[in-house]
């Protein structure tokens, strides 16, 4: 059965595999944008002089970072229907979970980014008459974000790899699609190899981009 690979099964199953790829990308993009936005607010809360706010944000971040992602995925999937009374599909549940989970990691990156902007910049914004929100929005966050782009992208590579964990709740991502197609054509190895190649190509391309960005950032400074 393992004597020869038969990759000819790929072409009829490509449309199906493509839906899995699309979901994996969509999950990554949503969790990345949602996670960065939520993470930025968490970082701002954590750095705020308001103790209650800062502690709440810190607790959230530290809790998320201490639980394995697989468990969070599973719990969200099981708990949300119990709490809201509505069943949520595996695909939507995963998007919510990943956003909430990744926000904790992105928030630590954004926190480092915000702290990388000098106090003098904040003072200059304040001195012009900006409100707290304006100083953050126009002066601090754009610089924080720019300084952290390579690190944010690196986190996104990890995120993309982690999306394969949604198999635990049966969401149809790239890995799940490969598994199903493998069963249908009785060619699991070829399908898993195909999935691995896609994961590799995407992650490799992204990490090369990170390297190039790091060089450029180094020149600007």
């Amino acid at each position: 059965m393992f004597s020869t690979f038969d990759f000819s099964v790929l072409s009829p199953s490509l449309p199906f595999l493509w839906t899995g790829i699309q979901y994996s990308f969509k999950l990554t993009l949503i969790a990345m944008s949602g996670g960065i936005i939520l993470g930025t607010f968490l970082a701002l809360a954590r750095l705020s002089p308001n103790r209650v706010l800062a502690n709440a944000a810190a607790t959230y971040v530290d809790t998320m970072r201490s639980i394995p992602l697989v468990m969070v995925i599973l719990w969200f999937f099981l708990l949300i229907p119990l709490l809201t009374g509505n069943p949520v599909g595996a695909e939507s549940s995963a998007m919510l979970t990943f956003t909430a989970f990744e926000a904790a990691y992105y928030s630590e990156i954004m926190r480092a980014g915000i702290q990388s902007v000098s106090r003098g910049q904040v003072a200059a914004g304040d001195a012009l008459g900006f409100t707290y929100g304006q100083t953050m929005g126009y002066i601090v966050l754009p610089q924080a974000f720019r300084n952290m782009i390579p690190v944010l992208l690196t986190q996104t590579i990890v995120l993309f790899q982690d999306t394969s964990l949604v198999y635990i709740i049966g969401a149809k991502d790239l890995l799940k699609a490969a598994e199903i197609a493998g069963k249908n054509y009785n060619r699991p190895i070829e399908m898993y190899i195909f999935a691995a190649v896609i994961y590799f190509v995407v992650c490799f391309t992204l990490s090369q981009t990170v390297k190039r960005l790091q060089k450029r950032v180094a020149i600007i400074r």
Binding site: S118, G120, Q121, A123, A124, G125, D126, A127, L128, G129, F130, T131, Q134, Y138, I139, P142, Q143, R146, I220
Partner: protein, 242 residues
């Protein structure tokens, strides 16, 4: 214009400002000097509320700084400030640096802000640099842009915190020239600086600070003629000798 009375500030047990009082009348130029760590930056930053203080009052144009009812962003928008390290926004072009405050705080139109910005840029002699970014300019050029940025808000007074001490010596004068010109135009200015040439040229009064106290607050002629305190005398001879 600026009335500082009995201001005290401390970090924990460490007293940074002790019972500081002085006034700056409209059109006056006041130079603040003193050894490093004496509280000059802290004092000047209390004027626009960048540094809070524990007791005393500061009035700017009749408005109480840091009082519960005071709209601090609004007050700060009317007080120009220039920093030792320029603090231009590095992610924005020179024109954006000059217009963002006008647009976002004063609600001027883009065209109006641009016209004002370019006029001021021309005034500090840097019209050709409009499209560049701060990192592409020399220190002296950046500081001149920073002055233009502060002026773009039509401030009622200007605060300078050692505007030339981060500059290479050959760039000090291009910045001082702009400041002298401003002074001649009647701008109310409070300047922390050790440039005694500048003080002699345009200051109305000189304040000498040491360990958080204002020890001398004298007219220029009195200060340079017969500084009464020994500390000020020592300090003066030190900075004038090089």
């Amino acid at each position: 214009m600026i009335e500082i009375s009995h201001v005290n500030k401390h970090y924990g047990a460490f007293q940074v400002l002790t019972d500081c009082s002085t006034t700056v009348a409209k059109g006056e130029v006041i130079v603040v000097c003193g050894p490093s760590g004496s509280g000059k930056s802290t004092l000047i930053k209390t004027v626009n509320g960048l540094e809070p203080f524990q007791s005393g009052t500061i009035m700017v144009d009749g408005i109480s700084v840091g009082a519960p009812g005071t709209d601090m962003p609004k007050l700060r928008a009317r007080v120009g400030m220039v920093f030792q390290n320029f603090e231009l926004f590095p992610h924005m072009s020179i024109t954006e640096n000059l217009t963002i405050g006008q647009i976002k705080v004063l609600n001027r139109s883009k065209e109006e802000a641009m016209a004002t910005g370019l006029k001021l840029l021309d005034r500090v002699g840097l019209k050709a640099q409009a499209a560049k970014f701060p990192g592409q300019l020399s220190g002296g050029q950046q500081q001149r842009v920073a002055i233009a940025r502060a002026l773009s808000m039509n401030p009622i007074c200007m605060l300078f915190d050692e505007p030339t001490s981060a500059l290479d010596p050959e760039m000090v004068n291009e910045v001082l020239d702009v400041m002298v010109e401003l002074a001649h135009e009647g701008m109310t200015m409070m300047c922390v600086t050790h440039e005694m040439g500048f003080a002699r040229k345009v200051a109305n009064r000189v304040i000498f600070m040491d360990q958080g106290h204002i020890i001398e607050d004298a007219t220029k002629d009195d200060f340079f003629g017969t500084p009464r305190g020994e500390r000020a005398q020592q300090f003066l001879s030190k900075i004038l000798s090089h």
